[in-house]
Amino acid sequence: MSDLPSPLPPDPNEPLPFAHDESFAERFRLVLPWLVLAMFVLLWEAVVRLFHVPPFLLPAPTAIFASLVEWGPQIGDAAFATLVTTVAGFLLAIGFGVLGGVLIGSSATLYAAFYPLLIGFNAVPKVAIVPILVVWFGIGAIPAILTAFLISFFPILVNVATGIATVEPELKDVLRALGASNRQIVAKVGLPRAMPYFFASLKVAITVAFVGSIMSETVASNVGIGSLMMTASARFEVPLVFAGLVVTAVMGILLYLVAEAIEKRVVGWAMRGHR
């Protein structure tokens, strides 16, 4: 008799049957990427051990880690050199990309004049440019910086130009009717409006900047991760090659996170749907 639940009123302290724990879901989402990574590494290790894959084909994660420890100082130096060249090239790309984007985005004439040339230029494989850079600047950091710059410059320019070129015509009319100059329109509206586009491009650009600098280092340098990986593969130190890859990936992720953190601070207004 008394085991029938009373229908009303419900106990306010009892959790609703279908309510799920928000904070648990949130914490779970934070550790999820690490879980996936751990499973990937475990699977890799298992495959290598089970099928007896020789280390010069695919080294096990443990072998890569051992190599990371063994060559720690050398890898550290190389990673630092690559980081410096990449960031230098990336900063150049930001400077020229924003400048070019503002110029091309705020003038239909400049856009029509330069855009085809830029597309053609972007279509040239950057690896083909490295030998020319070597002829001009010699072996070393400069071709690596310039390659990182050349490869990451285009996405920044295109995005900034798009942001500025797509200012609402009514808004332009409001400002122009007040007597605003083109420069004022770009400063007050165009640039802030282009910021979400700019940060979206930064996340692409920082990743490809690493591609550029490491590519150049493998061909034309004796410092940096690229050069280290080249030397290692010539000596069949395949675990060390993989260690270089891992370090590059980690640096890429770190710089991506930096770009994302700045983005959240500067253009939070554009991401209002995600809060």
Binding site: A177, L178, G179, A180
Partner: protein
């Protein structure tokens, strides 16, 4: 008080798109608006009402004829104009207050005084926000406001630099009927408080009759003034006014004229 000399005067104005005179937006357009007057311009779709906006604000030069504002021929943009559109085009990265203050950063003498007298200007902008019922919303962002509230902010932005001429292009066109009628009252209050000269371009005939002193009816393209009506109702007008037989009669008359103007009009949209 409105003076006798026209504040806005268009004499025999034509405006052509493109390189040839093939597409005339307006032709033989003559109109005058007295200082402090509230004029509404109505007409069939694509009759060149927006061209009228561009001509008077100096955004586009006339292909023929003369456009004069405040006694001088318009040769380029004028700082004494405030504008508001159907799309309220607020800047999402700025607060409501900073959006309203945008014209002050551009129009002289405010632009050069803004840094030193920011507090005074901010107080002024806040007063305006209060006048349109946006009290306490100054630190919000525009995307946190409803469409009607954004349009209120847009009116404040159009008025913050004390323009002598207010150009409104279907400012309430995107709003629902109740919000729209509410904003008619807000606009009327603003106009009574500050008495700028207003040119309101609209498709809504009741809006024109409710708000204007005088209504100009434009023809189909190329646009000319077909007829002119004085609106007799005393101010301030309330929504009760819109149910008077005279109100309905005038609206009806305008509707008939525009239906006539549409006959033989090209069915294409404005560019």
């Amino acid at each position: 008080m409105p003076s006798d000399a026209p504040f806005v005067e268009l004499s025999d104005v034509a405006l052509a798109y493109g390189s040839t005179a093939a597409t005339l937006a307006v032709e033989r357009l003559n109109l005058t608006v007295a200082e402090g007057e509230f004029v509404a311009v109505v007409g069939p779709s694509g009759c060149g009402k927006s061209s009228l906006m561009k001509l008077v604000t100096g955004l586009w030069p006339a292909s023929r004829g003369r456009v004069a504002v405040a006694g001088e021929t318009v040769k380029g943009p004028l700082g004494i104009v405030g504008m508001a559109f159907q799309n309220s085009v607020q800047l999402p990265w700025r607060t409501v207050l900073a959006n309203v203050m945008l014209p002050l950063e551009i129009v002289e003498p405010h632009a050069s005084k803004l840094r030193r007298e920011r507090a005074t200007y901010e107080a002024k902008a806040r007063d305006l926000l209060k006048l349109v019922g946006l009290d306490g919303y100054d630190a919000r962002h525009p995307w946190q406001l409803s469409g009607g509230m954004q349009q209120r902010a847009s009116l404040c932005r159009a008025l913050v630099h004390d323009p002598r001429l207010l150009m409104l292009d279907e400012p309430f066109g995107a709003l629902d009927m109740f919000t729209r009628e509410e904003l008619w009252g807000v606009l009327q209050d603003l106009w009574i408080a500050r008495r700028p000269t207003v040119i309101l371009v609209t498709h809504d005939l009741r809006e024109a009759v409710f708000l204007a002193d005088r209504i100009l009816v434009m023809s189909a393209r190329p646009g000319r003034i077909l007829a002119e009506y004085r609106v007799p109702f005393a101010r301030p007008r309330s929504l009760e006014t819109t149910y008077l037989p005279e109100f309905t009669e005038l609206t009806h008359e305008l509707r008939r004229l525009i239906a006539e103007a549409r006959v033989g009009a090209p069915t294409e949209a404005t560019p």
